[in-house]
Symmetry: C2
Subunit: 339 residues, 2 copies
């Protein structure tokens, strides 16, 4: 492929033939979310559906990147290809690489079976939550069987994105209280597998106890799907297992990967995977609709009426909600959808 | 005021008379963002306009809460009242309080001149970015002259909220690279004052050099407003000063507060404060419009057409953007605003 083409059709063909620069350029188009992003979305959509996505999230400093890197090693040992999408400003894959922390990335730099891409968390409201699933669809369409989605578990959009993988791994650290923090950040509801990373430090058992306590509070039964079983009971509920790891030396990473795959089997066999994907599509559609409506709102925001209403709010003649009412007066569905 | 009233008019009257529980309840109404939130917004809007807001943001672990607490002490020494709105899941004011880290909060617990409120970062897309300014308006209307807004500097919504104070303080730590991370998270553009906290640790001068370098790259001139001058040159651009602090023992906090007030004087005298508040109102208005439109989108999302289109997307007959097109067909401004 020519180094200079920006034609989505050409780029997609090249990316599917293994051209990594073409893939990178497709992802840039998707991230820029301009007109080309739409074209890419339309092109890749029919091609996808076989990738499995694994979200890896937790507070900054929990060791998500080291764990992601260790999981990449683990997946490669089975000779499966794996892509990483890092949406974590504190990750060595993104910010950290600049800090000379290239060592771990370097482990995979020459491996054709690994593709690592970082994504900025900046941009418009809703930008990340639309761009991340779009990027996953590209990686899926190009043929990456595994997509690891590393996201920082802080920030409402970020946590939302983290929860939309097929399987979500929440990474905590030893010590009492980390689980409470994670719960406040909204991470408990999205966890399919818990990791207590840095488990060689004191407090790993307290962390485990905390998690168990919160799971029971949340109404999870004690019945647990056996992670090593090939067949699962399709009516058995999934209680998120807790895996202790030391990502730096690889301790527990095998067990973690086993738990991830067990969740995948359970989700596929119980129909949960399809339900989850349908919910994800619904949310993605809602968000795209919201982004489109937001664009309409911004257009409204450029009109003379908007400026006058803004001045009224500043002068305290009008509160913001009443001003919004006036802007939106008459705004709504006109004729029914052509369907 | 009765412990049980939830009438916004009564609550506001009581809060303005100094009833802290009434204030707390008003803030809960605003956070819940139901119909009562609108009523509260309409009530408080004409009363506000005198509070000064100071955003304090930075990565988790940078020491924002300790610094916020030290600033509260500093403000109180001038016998001025101060409210803290903590939107930081890693803050001891919010999550941390549960962890037994009540010590610093306890310093202010009996002080009638201090009001501390935490706010969850969870909820709907746009929820925080609408609820936080609404909460500031309540504190303003009730008469708090200073509102410190502590937000975690990770997450796109959170960084956006942090940047919407009258003066924004970005907290970094010693060592090379923290400024690069902050820049990636979008914090450099929103900083009016930089703090290198934990400046007793090695690397404070490297951090300062990093920040200076990034400021120069961003086109900031070297001319600097003298933070100790009462009158400022209204055409002099503001170059964010860098203050070194050790929040734990109060070192540098005086200088920081001086820098914050200097920025306030500069902003007021140059007209920047008015411009900034007008921009803030415009963004708030856009967001409320967006939230309203999002509600319309969700209504669309409940219709039969939505379900059919979602199924088409899942079956890969239609890509999400084209599905959104069909949903929005005919959607738009109908008759002109009644104004």
């Amino acid at each position: 492929v020519s180094l200079r083409t920006s034609d989505p059709v050409e780029l997609l063909a090249a990316a599917r033939a293994g051209d990594r620069r073409a893939l990178a350029r497709l992802l840039t188009l998707v991230e820029d979310s301009g007109a080309a992003a739409r074209e890419v979305a339309a092109l890749v959509h029919p091609l996808g559906g076989s990738a499995r996505t694994v979200g890896i999230t937790g507070a900054p400093g929990a060791g998500k990147s080291t764990l992601t890197s260790a999981l990449v090693d683990r997946v490669r040992r089975d000779d499966e290809d794996v892509a990483v999408l890092a949406i974590d400003p504190t990750s060595p894959f993104t910010g950290g690489a600049i800090l000379g922390d290239r060592v771990r990335m370097g482990d995979h730099a020459l491996d054709e079976g690994v593709f690592i891409r970082s994504m900025a968390t900046r941009g418009h409201l809703g930008g990340l939550s639309v761009a991340a699933p779009a990027a996953v669809r590209v990686l899926d369409a190009v043929g990456w069987p595994w997509v690891l989605l590393e996201t920082v578990g802080v920030g409402q959009v970020e946590v939302e994105v983290a929860g939309e993988a097929d399987t979500t791994v929440v990474v905590l650290n030893p010590g009492w209280g980390d689980a409470v923090q994670a719960s406040k950040a909204g991470l408990m509801e999205i966890a399919d597998v818990f990791v207590v990373n840095k488990a060689d430090r004191p407090g790993a058992s307290e962390a485990r106890r905390d998690i168990e306590g919160m799971l029971s509070l949340a109404g999870h039964g004690h019945a647990r799907v056996d992670p090593s079983a090939e067949e699962v009971d399709p009516v058995a509920p999934w209680r998120p297992p807790i895996v202790e790891t030391v990502a730096l030396d690889g301790t527990g990473v095998d067990e973690l990967w086993q738990a991830v795959r067990a969740h995948g089997r359970w989700a596929a066999q119980t129909g949960e995977l399809d339900r989850r994907r349908a919910r994800r599509t619904a949310r993605e559609l809602e968000r795209i609709v919201a982004v489109r409506l937001l664009a309409m709102a911004t257009e409204l925001g450029e009109g003379a009426t908007f400026a006058a209403l803004r001045a009224d709010v500043d002068a305290r003649r009008l509160d913001p909600w009443s001003a919004a009412d006036r802007l939106l007066d008459g705004f709504g569905p006109g004729r029914p959808a052509a369907g």
